[in-house]
Amino acid sequence: MTTTAQPPAKTLDAVVIRFCGDSGDGMQLAGGEFTTTSAVFGNDIATFPDFPAEIRAPKGTTFGVSGFQLQFASHEVFTPGDRVNVLFAMNPAGFKTNIDDVEVGGLVIVNEDEFNEVNLRKCGYPVGYNPLNDDQVSSARQIVRVPMSRMTREALADTGLGAKDVDRCRNMFALGVAYWVYQRPLDATLRHIETEYGIKKGRPEIAEANSIVLKAGYHFGETAELLAVKYVVPPAKLRPGKYRRIDGNSATALGFAAAAQKASKQLVYASYPITPASDVLHAMARLKHLGIKTFQAEDEIAAVCAAIGASFAGDIGITGTSGPGVCLKSEAIGLAVMYELPLVVLDVQRAGPSTGMPTKTEQADLFLAMFGRAGESPCIVIAPNSPANCFDTAVEAVRLATRHMCPVIILSDASIANGAEPWLLPDYDAIDPIESHHPTEPKDPSVGYMPYQRDSETLARPWALPGTPGMEHRIGSLEKSEPAGAVSYDPANHEKMVRTRAEKVQRAAKWLPELAVEGDQAGEVLLLGWGSTHGAILTAAARLRASGLTVGCANLRYLNPMPTNLKDVLGRFTNVIVPENNTGQLAMLIRSRFLIDAVPLGKIQGRSFGVDELVAGVRAILNDRKEATK
């Protein structure tokens, strides 16, 4: 073998890679770049950024570790993967908190320069211990030591950059090595570095430094023959079309913007900063040229109330938040139920209760969305099931709110908000316009405008706008009678109004698609989920089917009202298992609505399901049931 010969390339179907380091180490950036490059290369991808709530936790500590996991594959993938095949650990704390997730025999590439006494002690390793020298650790996994800090400094020795700026480029070295391992082109990242630092931030010297280090990392892999093999993950066969990488929060923002255009209306997005929903506010704030107004309110309540005010005056009113914010908005959402005005409430769920774990995912706000208000105050509740699906869901929420004149709650969550996947760009022109009608004269001039005269089909009330002569009317939080909307304390009228508001929401089901079952259409097991667990459930169902069970799975995007065929679907399976990132909220709804023995399968760890644990969970439930019937 000559010195220039390259190691052989081994072809893999799918790889789960994770970058981890200090929260200031730029792991999210490195992971994001690897994602874009892999997506552009043609792999299917699913990502899981996992970062602490603290912006810069004390350096080197385990609670300051930030991670970014990505699965890229030559086939369709629906989850960021269970076991990590390749780990990049930029410091001992990252190593310590992530090593157990790496599969036996997996590859661990470490920045060995950071494994010094100080850093090892900071993350709690005993005095004199270095895991890199522990045979037990290194025998289970393939550990590759790379002096990333030193190499980065050497690569930038002649640039005259300060030590701090130099050290910030280490993530690019790791990324360069990763690109070499998987034979990825550097051009997309080089372009991004140039735009981000060179043009947007006006710091060409930083752009230059990052480019140098990225290439240095790549060449180091090549020159040092870092691994005995290189890996190739060929492109996946995705549906033909134009793609881009998208995360859930960006897709949500784009969906809202598209909805406003389709409704030929301006939009007010009113919000108060809260993790993990703030990125939607940031994205919306950059869309002013599309007639979008953002309002960073003084608190959550002001935000939802401003959205309601905007809606009364004829704009699309949207407020975005996470669970704690929904709690604060609850009274105002009830007001929108009473007003019967369109309102969209985005809840990017996170782990609760209370402040909980702000950056970690959970699906525990379902009951909050369904019932978390005073009195009987039904809302339409829908949930996106993947990052890209957030776009469609956002458009749909606006459509439903305007058609049915009521609040619509979107239950997104941290995992899809921050997770990314390839997005087959939608055919914008094929999206139906969103119709809204603003009457300009009373139906019967002798009695004037009747704000609660309902549409016989939808039961929605008319939406006359301030500024329209002759349509002056008052709406209020007090109970009212139809059709004039006058305040009423009449007992029978109250019951009628409560039932009518509920009926209006249930009637929306007529316009919603039926629930589709994937896999077996009838048989032993139905895995019924909602929201972000879709990918894991889909993959687990396929694996269970492969093992001989008849398994169907379905993702309930419409939680209120539920699809009209749900009862029929439930009846076709012997076992209905409901995986959720909560203790069993949908399961309880299904049990109470349909009087069936739906079994909850919960995970409440701030993380979405892995496929393995879902498969194991389903098997355990089936075994228990078998035992019970013996």
Binding site: G42, G241, K242, K288, P426, G467, R474, G476, A486
Partner: protein
């Protein structure tokens, strides 16, 4: 409504000639007989025809409380909202349609206690709305608990031994929050209310009018020291821009500035009119000092404390940003926004970066 047109001073748009009846809804007014709110309601109905604003452009918005029933009685667009949140809803209305003329009417509990936060923020943003605070220093609708403006020691159902709280000073909050029009009126002084209200409604920016309002059921005579014929001259001082601060039954008292404090003096001996502070509506520092003048130590100011008609409004700032963004955007086609960033094409034969 008759057809005789008046004209809008700025662009000569023909406006119908309204009468108070045009602003009267078909709802029976349900306030207690003798409530000070009646006078304010009548004052507003009488004032609106004098403004060059179309009826359909008014939106009256309120929170919760006795005063907050106000919009139901006005034949305009109106929103009765939830407790404390009228100003947030009003801000949303103005974000959507800055052409609308929004007037918030609510009470001291609503605007200063549960909604106190929003009062500060609506004012510092200078949202182009008018806020009428009907201050009766009591919770009326919940049947008589002390409010944030009740005096310390106030004995109510919830404070049988007297309220331990010091009251807030609404005008001082307005001054400190950057409100651009600040005034005080009295429910029984119809003329004063109308003149102040008309100026507030004509003001571009956030205007705030505190009205001393009698709750004759739970806090009767709370403001009699300031509103009655025999008490008013000694206990209030009518502010007029450019005029010295004189008050008293015989116009024999005035206000001087001593160090950084205002002090009440008797004219004739040591002090003459030329020693008195001359009211300047454009002086925010003076407005703060005036807002702190409390009975019984000092006469309480009525009329306009402060007015800055030139401060940019929130509404304009939002619209301007949008216009600017539209003007500088390379495209307003959302398809290009969707189709941005790193994209790639998947075809039957392979991948190409685009």
């Amino acid at each position: 409504m008759t057809t005789a047109p008046t004209t809008n001073g700025t662009n000569n748009v023909e406006l119908p000639q309204y009468s108070p009846k045009d602003f009267t809804s078909n709802q029976d007014v349900r306030w207690c007989p003798g409530c000070g709110d009646y006078a304010v309601l009548n004052g507003v109905r009488k004032a609106l025809p004098k403004l060059a604003i179309r009826k359909e452009d008014y939106v009256f918005i309120s929170g919760i409380g006795c005063a907050a029933r106000f919009p139901y009685y006005m034949d305009t667009f109106g929103m009765h909202t939830i407790h404390g949140r009228s100003l947030c809803v009003a801000t949303g209305v103005k974000l959507a349609n800055p052409e609308l003329k929004v007037c918030v009417v609510s009470g001291d509990g609503d605007l200063l206690s549960i909604g106190g936060n929003h009062t500060i923020h609506a004012m510092r943003r200078n949202v182009d709305i008018t806020i009428v605070l009907l201050n009766n220093r009591i919770y009326g609708l919940t049947k008589g608990q002390y409010s944030p403006t009740s005096e310390q020691g106030k004995i109510t159902k919830s404070t049988p031994m007297g309220s331990p709280d010091d009251p807030v000073c609404p005008l001082s909050i307005a001054v400190a929050s950057g409100c651009t029009f600040i005034a005080r009126a009295l429910d029984v002084d119809v003329k004063l209310f109308e003149s102040v209200y008309l100026r507030a409604m004509a003001h571009k920016g956030c205007s705030f009018v505190e009205v001393y309002q009698d709750c004759n059921i739970f806090n009767h005579q709370a403001f009699f020291y300031a509103t009655q014929k025999d008490t008013k001259p000694e206990n209030t001082i009518l502010l007029e821009h450019g005029k010295p601060l004189i008050y008293g039954t015989n116009n024999d008292k005035g206000i001087v500035l001593e160090g950084t404090m205002l002090k009440s003096v008797t004219l004739g001996g040591e002090y003459s009119e030329s020693d008195l502070v001359v009211h300047d509506e454009t002086d925010r520092q003076l407005a703060f000092l005036l807002s702190q003048m409390r009975h019984p130590q000092m006469p309480e100011p009525i009329g306009v404390l402060y007015c800055d008609p030139n401060h940019p409004t929130y509404d304009d700032a939002v619209q301007n940003q949008m216009q600017k963004a539209k003007a500088s955007a390379s495209t307003t086609d959302i398809r290009q926004l969707i189709d941005s960033g790193e994209t790639w094409d998947v075809t039957e034969s392979g991948i190409s970066s685009s």
